[in-house]
Symmetry: C2
Subunit: 353 residues, 2 copies
């Protein structure tokens, strides 16, 4: 609905796979010394010296993870790269290389795919990451994106999700639920547009939550801050499926329980106002909305003083023993077991074929 | 058409994403010391010590790269992994880890996905490779597989495709064109089946070419043989899109030409007979059929004696200067410029949406 329809359209079949690869990769320059050979052979070559390598793969599927009706391709490319960088941040590492596989139906023009890669390129430049390879092929229908990211960390720096200990403090960065409310706004305007394509989308006053949905960032700044503060989290995960789902991963994998306090969970005022206008409890957005790409981590209680004054990290609870369970303490001081699942593509209503 | 329709069917939505991941990954055991942490966190962890890492990504899309009408899911999983190992072989390296991303529509049951992973597991066991991560999500339609493989090589061992030199000998392993003819047989039987589902598929006498299509292998044995013979190829590539396309990559990237001799190109007798029954020139299968996953490489002329007696490597021509072009010398001693393109999914007739 926001598309510029005057654009030039070159069919991908007119330049073929190798023509397309050349076009989309020629603007990527190698930035990391560890990237020995990037695009252009059967495999890329990396030299990690004495470092540990972190590897993560994410798929983004049209109709499941994104809707091109309201997602500009450049934003989609940026987000696809960044959500992978966020997985490396969640290990306390630094992203260095990505491979990008895309499958595209002939609905997409060369120019459309260039837009997608312009977004990937923008993310790679901002985060100092090299595109080192991938695959480009046709699909029977729709757009599929597969990104594998490779990051680096020193051996002793890596933080897993299964190492939280009783007594640790639970911390979260930024604020939660905004991305989900941004998506609700976009879905609403799509609905309006479908019924009347003449109506201009009404997005005013929603800049922050829309940006959180369309152009999220990986919290590399927090990874740097933690190093500066000389804090190594005892466990960490990024929030892609919602706070409830992620804290359950930490607790289940670490064999601990936790207490989170509702009044400590950071939610932006724009998220709250929009949620209320949609008659959704803001807390539900924070717990189950997902796509925040904030970091959820635990620290030793001794590190409390160091973190307190940073202003960028919110302590939302503490780790208990497993028998106490995973609980939310409400503003009314009630303890509610957290069972809310995060977003699960197999249980969502989008995919019906 | 070969499917066993009596099988139990569990809906993926009944166990969800995490249930599915648990089911399909629990049988994978870590085999390599370089795999520090496999499935189960935001990223896997690898320690490559002083080695160079090789990274390659391949996509396999239903309706473009495979047809489930005649491809058993276990074979598909095996092939999806092996074709990635072949990319690492083509760099003169050894595959060590893979990540597997799959997107599946709800047409697929839990049992079907277990079959797919049983094939991936079989390939990982045979080639001593660890499954270290991935992503599992729903798709709106069809099956989409993305595999990223990570391999190792010592610094001085890596062989690129852009380093062939004038005077080098052009070598190929195994035989070519068989996989393509195997596909033709399967396509023919699919056509028959569609018109009359009561007719049993007639595959007799085609074991070899069917196996080449459905269960290819990566030539790790050749990589070991070359090490034993103390030969480092001057350039190398694996044959996924057909001999013509691959030799053009080597020549274009190395800025050289070549002469290949028709009578030296290895084609199995079963391929020849089947091709003739289909009224296809066997040479065309070898040049443009693809999916052979044999190795095409160049060696210094001094290494001729070492290779001659191996019995597993065929010398099919030599490298010339670029001005002479890329030529095939026919049995009638005519020189024909090779321009035949390999398979290009964007130019094939399968994808029309």
């Amino acid at each position: 609905m926001f598309e510029n329809r005057d654009k030039k359209r070159t069919e991908i079949s007119s330049i073929g796979e190798f023509g397309l690869i050349k076009k989309i990769t020629e603007n990527f320059k190698i930035k990391n010394a560890s990237t020995i050979k990037g695009v252009g052979d059967d495999a890329a070559v990396i030299f990690a010296d004495n470092k540990r390598l972190l590897v993560s793969t994410d798929l983004l599927i049209e109709g499941v993870h994104f809707d091109l009706m309201f997602t500009p391709l450049k934003h989609l490319g940026y987000k696809a790269a960044v959500v992978n960088f966020s997985d490396i941040a969640a290990m306390n590492g630094v992203p260095k290389q990505i491979t990008v596989g895309i499958a595209i139906s002939n609905r997409f023009s060369v120019e459309a795919i260039e837009e997608l890669y312009a977004g990937i390129s923008m993310a790679c430049n901002k985060y100092n990451v090299d595109l080192i390879g991938g695959d480009t092929t046709s699909s029977v229908s729709g757009l599929f994106i597969s990104i594998t990211v490779i990051g680096e960390a020193e051996e002793g720096e890596i933080v897993y999700r299964n190492t939280a200990k009783e007594g640790d403090l639970v911390c979260v960065t930024g604020d939660l639920g905004a991305s989900y409310m941004g998506l609700q706004i976009l879905e609403r305007e799509k609905f309006v547009f479908k019924n009347n394509p003449e109506v201009q989308p009404d997005l005013e006053g929603h800049d922050y939550i829309l940006e959180r949905q369309l152009k999220p960032e990986a919290r590399m700044d927090i990874i740097e801050l933690l190093k500066k503060l000389e804090i190594k989290p005892t466990s960490m995960i990024d929030i892609s499926d919602g706070l409830a789902s992620e804290i359950m991963h930490i607790c289940d994998d670490s064999k601990v329980g936790c207490k989170l306090f509702e009044d400590k969970i950071p939610i932006d005022i724009e998220t709250i106002k929009t949620a209320e206008s949609f008659k959704i409890a803001p807390l539900v957005c924070a717990l189950s909305g997902g796509e925040d790409y904030e970091l959820l981590f635990t620290i030793k209680i001794e590190d409390f003083e160091k973190i307190k004054s940073s202003g960028q990290i919110q302590i939302i609870g503490h780790i208990t023993n497993a028998a106490e369970g995973i609980n939310l303490i409400t503003k009314a001081d009630q303890s509610i077991p957290l069972t809310t699942p995060g977003w699960d593509s197999f249980k969502s209503s989008i995919s019906e074929n």
